[in-house]
Symmetry: D2
Subunit: 424 residues, 4 copies
């Protein structure tokens, strides 16, 4: 489905005067407003192919309608998002759910929608119908070398698919671990995992990165073999300079200070990228910014500070991706809300008075430090985000446009009410 450009323009036209009033007010307090806008325009968050359908839990799944039935339709969905927000210019594929049968055609289709292929994702946490050996007891950690080899081969195949599409990174999330005390020898599990990762790493093209994602629990409920940032860091540092840690916001123990982890990984040059979502209890995979928006701001505050300190490019030097599950919302609406929350947090982080903050920190003026952060976080930056979208051809309000233009209705018209996408 292609959304005609004029429809967005019409939508914007109706709200333009009000937007201008809000933007002018907001911009009047931002000295480097054009610089900020340019950064927002450049910032792109990849959409995972598995997040375009309704998600579920082990207790059930309540599908919506009009979900993409093929890789092509998934690309179209992301294209639609990107048309609306101009910030979703990349798609992240999951193999084997999204194996491109004709890579050249897929690549062309994506280009048509202005999309790049972000990190490719392997899957060794499920058994596929035709699979020789089972991952019931792990994949890269497995006590059986043959299972490990199967997992390694799969990852290498994923890299191959990625190369064909122009991806430049591989995300490895392992569900490996144990559910009961005694089940694993932790040390051997680590060493097996490391050895497997090394074999995959050896197959990595020179210009690629490997992201080693960690997770505290689920689907294993006693230990995870890449369980926290410390373990991911150990793997990444042993693997080499193309290996990095990937932070998923929902993969921590209760009360973890994620922003500190981000800062330290940046310091060590080992932060690779992000899986954005939100959560209250565990890997709840909720809409970004829906539960703890201030934490999201604090994370972006560290990202901006830490990337600037290393002279990194905000838009390109880390991998930005959403990883959420849309159980009770329309997936596309949910993703629009997530991207909006990310852009707001990023903008607020850009507004932090860094010089004043550094001075207050140096003076141990804790009260002032807090004021400086809160000043940025209490600022209403929605109009600034909207302006960046406007300048890059997107919709002033993405969710409202999606609804007003009845895009889901159109998708259901095309695909039917019973279309169910792959994903969690």
């Amino acid at each position: 489905m292609l959304l005609e450009k004029y429809k967005i323009e019409e939508f914007n036209q109706a709200g333009l005067a009000e937007h201008k009033r809000r933007f002018d007010f907001a911009a009047s307090y931002v000295k480097n407003i054009d610089e900020v806008l340019q950064k927002l325009i450049d910032f792109q968050v990849a959409i995972p192919s598995w997040a375009l359908g309704t998600g579920g839990t082990r207790f059930g799944r309540f599908a919506g309608g009009g979900e993409p039935r093929s890789l092509e339709e998934k690309i179209e969905d992301v294209g639609l998002l990107h048309q609306l927000n101009r910030s979703s210019g990349a798609i992240s594929l999951h193999i084997p759910w999204d194996i491109p049968q004709n890579p050249a055609a897929i690549k062309a289709l994506a280009a048509q929608h202005g999309l790049k292929f972000d990190a490719v994702n392997s899957n060794t946490f499920q058994d596929q119908p035709d699979q020789k050996l089972s991952y019931k007891f792990g994949s890269m950690q497995h006590v059986d070398k043959a299972v490990r080899k199967q997992a390694v081969d799969h990852n290498i195949e994923v890299i191959r698919h990625g190369i064909e599409l122009g991806s430049e990174s591989l995300t490895v999330w392992l569900s490996d671990g144990s559910s009961f005390p005694g089940q694993l020898n932790f040390r051997k599990a680590f060493q097996n995992t490391l050895e497997s990762l090394q074999e995959v790493y050896a197959a990595l093209p020179d210009n690629w990165k490997m992201f080693v994602e960690y997770k505290a629990f689920e689907p294993n409920f006693y230990s995870m073999s890449v369980g926290d940032w410390g373990q991911s860091y150990l793997y990444a540092s042993k693997l080499g300079e193309k290996a990095y840690t990937l932070v998923d916001l929902g993969h921590h123990l209760p009360n973890a200070n994620i922003e500190q982890i981000v800062s330290l990984l940046l310091m060590e040059g080992k932060l690779g990228g992000f899986h954005f979502n939100d959560s209250k209890y565990g890997d709840d995979d909720l809409t970004v910014g829906s539960v703890k928006p201030y934490q999201l701001f604090l994370i972006f505050n560290e990202l901006v500070e830490g990337m600037d300190a290393r002279g990194m490019n905000h838009a390109t030097d880390l991998g930005w991706m959403i990883d959420a599950s849309h159980n009770v919302k329309d997936p596309l609406e949910d993703l629009l809300q997530s991207v909006e929350a990310i852009m707001i947090a990023y903008t607020q982080a850009l507004l932090v008075d860094r010089k004043a903050l550094a001075e207050a920190q140096q003076a141990n003026d804790v009260v002032r430090c807090q004021e400086i952060l809160q000043t940025a976080a209490r600022t209403d930056v929605r109009a600034i985000v909207a302006e960046a979208r406007l300048r890059s051809g997107g919709a002033l309000q993405t969710l409202q446009a999606f609804r007003q233009l009845e895009l889901r209705k159109a998708l259901i018209g095309e695909r039917g009410l019973k279309a169910v996408s792959t994903g969690l």
Copy 2:
């Protein structure tokens, strides 16, 4: 499948001398050993029909083999467990997964295996293929009266099935809640839920109990409409004297003191029953006693103390049930381990010197209080549990018997490697 009695006897014969040595030693330290043994013999833990197959998570499920394909085979499985441990003399059905087509025949089959029908369980957390209205946004809490009515009607149907089989209690677990701030009006959700429960309660036979189960999170990740013991207590006290709270060990926030909750609910006469399992992070549904066996002992310590204080019958006045998910273990082996852990904790609780404990508490002798509990918990009571089993015709060691007699192999022979049971 029926296990011939002589096979258990043969198995026991081989270990009898060693058992006698161990039991005599253990018994020599227990003054009222016969009383303890009788209590152990009387104590029965119901097996849920959905726990006889391999469970899974949202990330996947790795089936085993020889799983029961029908309600009849589920009953046979529980019968097998009961033959081995003589403590699994009841089965708890889940509707609609286990609707008995011919209740009389099912009842007869169960009786043949020495099994009773424990609480029946309703399911309004999934949509069934033929269902008119969806539970996507809740069931008993739903803003739409028609959905609530559907949920109420389903529960009343479950009661009807239960009556036919001789059950005397209904367990209501609601996944109702919200995943995002703002989604629900908490008060109205509570009131809708209460009203729905009241309609079900009105349909409850006089000799029945209704168990209102609470859960802190999952599958809703922001709020649950029966989220903690306080909420369950509110519902139960408003419903009436046939309504009780049901405690599932995995349904709490981190670090909750479950044993205190148990004690207070007993004090209020509102504890109805238990779902046993173990967990480290959330509702992990692990084998009972596999992660926190001392907590299990502490819970039994409160149960024994509190039930005795009210003159309750340990075996019959509360509902005892396992509720676990067997993702990486043979379900029957897992259940044997769970029942064993329960019997051990119960035995140790029976060994607590209550008089000395009361005295130490009265004297604020904290050191001694701890000693008294630890003395019981450090005692090796396995031979006592085994003796109770022996006296009631079970196997000295249940897991070893299951393996030595190659029972899973026999089940696979009958049912095939691809048999997959319903459940989570």
Copy 3:
């Protein structure tokens, strides 16, 4: 110390034009702006007398300077805060730390500063030098009737002090509980506590309220005898209609949904009041809104909705108090930040489009529900809060005024650098 009014006026004058620009913009989006402003003007948050000095932890305390050395100076400090923010028009005393020697004079002094006396607080968690029996093993829960009586008598004495000053509520926070399994009989501890509370309740004047505060842990580390809202509710409902639950934001297990608790307690007519603070790990007693401002907003969202549903007066029908510990900040600056955060969250909650929210909830439009809340929470309401302050004679920016007017310096001049206040 009295701050001359003209100084605040001078301070405001300098920022008035800029404020007007901001306020006019903000107000243009709020239809009932005058109603909102009036509510903000009416809303008063009590300051606890023990929060005027530097707090500490068991690991140490790093005092600041110029802390109040007497009850009189504490009243002066609160008066100063109130002069600046016009929202701190009450003080909450802690007995025995703040026993008024001359109640009439103290009352007059408070009146001079425009202050009322909020809830009085008893202390049975520490032994006082001249105390006959120790609270080492609890107070109202104690196995020894004499200790319980001492605790009851103390609370009655606190009420007497409160009456003299014009207080109308008693807050009972009990540190009672146990640090080791076995130490307590939970049931008897509950019953002893209840009996003690009943004796205090009997001494409560007719127009008084009793607030029963709960806390999950600390200083007892195994169980607390008023450990969660469910327990507090049990006590309060058994005590009678003058007894209520008091919610302290830091007194919960990890990940608790406090806003739901608030809503349900309001529904039951049993919410009595609040202790505001913020926390990441436990009872961290941090500045309100410094860690989880969105949660604070969500709580106020429930408060506004729930109080309106019952026709309650926002300003007077619940007890509002800060309870924080200022370990690394100037206590007065910290309190100014806390009150500001409360006023912001309250304002945002007032801006929630309740009609639209109710409709979206009724339609299960989860996306829209979230949008409605986020719209309010993303609005910059600081100018509205400032306008309310301006209209009631306070400072446009309280913290800046405090600093610019060099008030701490003046206090140190009066009281010295080594003045150390009582408190935690």
Copy 4:
């Protein structure tokens, strides 16, 4: 106070027959019983000098009586423990609380009691009366180089004291961190801390170890500058081969898998030692094994496996220490319970059938893996621990001996009821 040897012998004599019966039974199931006993005899747990008095919380402290008033009396207390259990043959000093005025005399006194000096502990989390600069905003992380230098100098002084007494390790626990978002630049705080640690490291004798302890929270409530094992590992690996991570059981986020951390640190050769205690909520500093004894066993299971895999000496290659706070118990009784719990867990870990476990792990026989661990943990090993004590001259039951011999009464007689020791 010196306990005459004959008194212990008399005490033992009375229980000898019963002990022999129990021990013979237990030993009959342990093939390498003598080897196990020798390991138990060799195993020594250091007692921290600050744990000999009653501890407290920020809410209060309820002292007992007869607490040691000087370093000499602290040594006597540890000597007493060691006489009773023969497993407390070391003391760990805290500077400046225990600065030895006459090191030679102190060393001689310790030797007289059979005690060695374990790790020395620095204190930069409190300000001392005569201290030039304050640690209010951190010590080794401090933005002011002069404060960092003061902290470094203090640590070097601690080393000097340690050298005089024969210590061979320094434990550095830093309370450094921040209580509010924005307060710290995490990266600079890390780098300052690292630089400070490097300066201390440079002053470390060749045969010394430096233990870098981590802690998740408290007394800082937003971030800690050595907050988790990953951070400690980073410091230790940058510092050099004499630097190690120290694990305190109470210093983790909720639900952390400590045993896995232990295993991985051992794998990396970076585990230095332990602070034993138990906890339910945070750094509760409860008696070892009083809340989660199975976790303690699982940790020892990893320690034994991991140390054996590296050919390490259980008794000497890691630092073993208790770090607890005795708020409601007699400190010496509490310590006796703690050491007993440690010895029991260690013994059970020694009884794990390692060969069978390795085979079961290799076969993914999760059920059997669990059985093997549970078999060890369900074994009553108290008589084995007692036998080890008996053979090395200690008391069969240490707590009972302490009470029967009325040792606290004797200490009070010597020191008075009001003696209060330094500590937390």
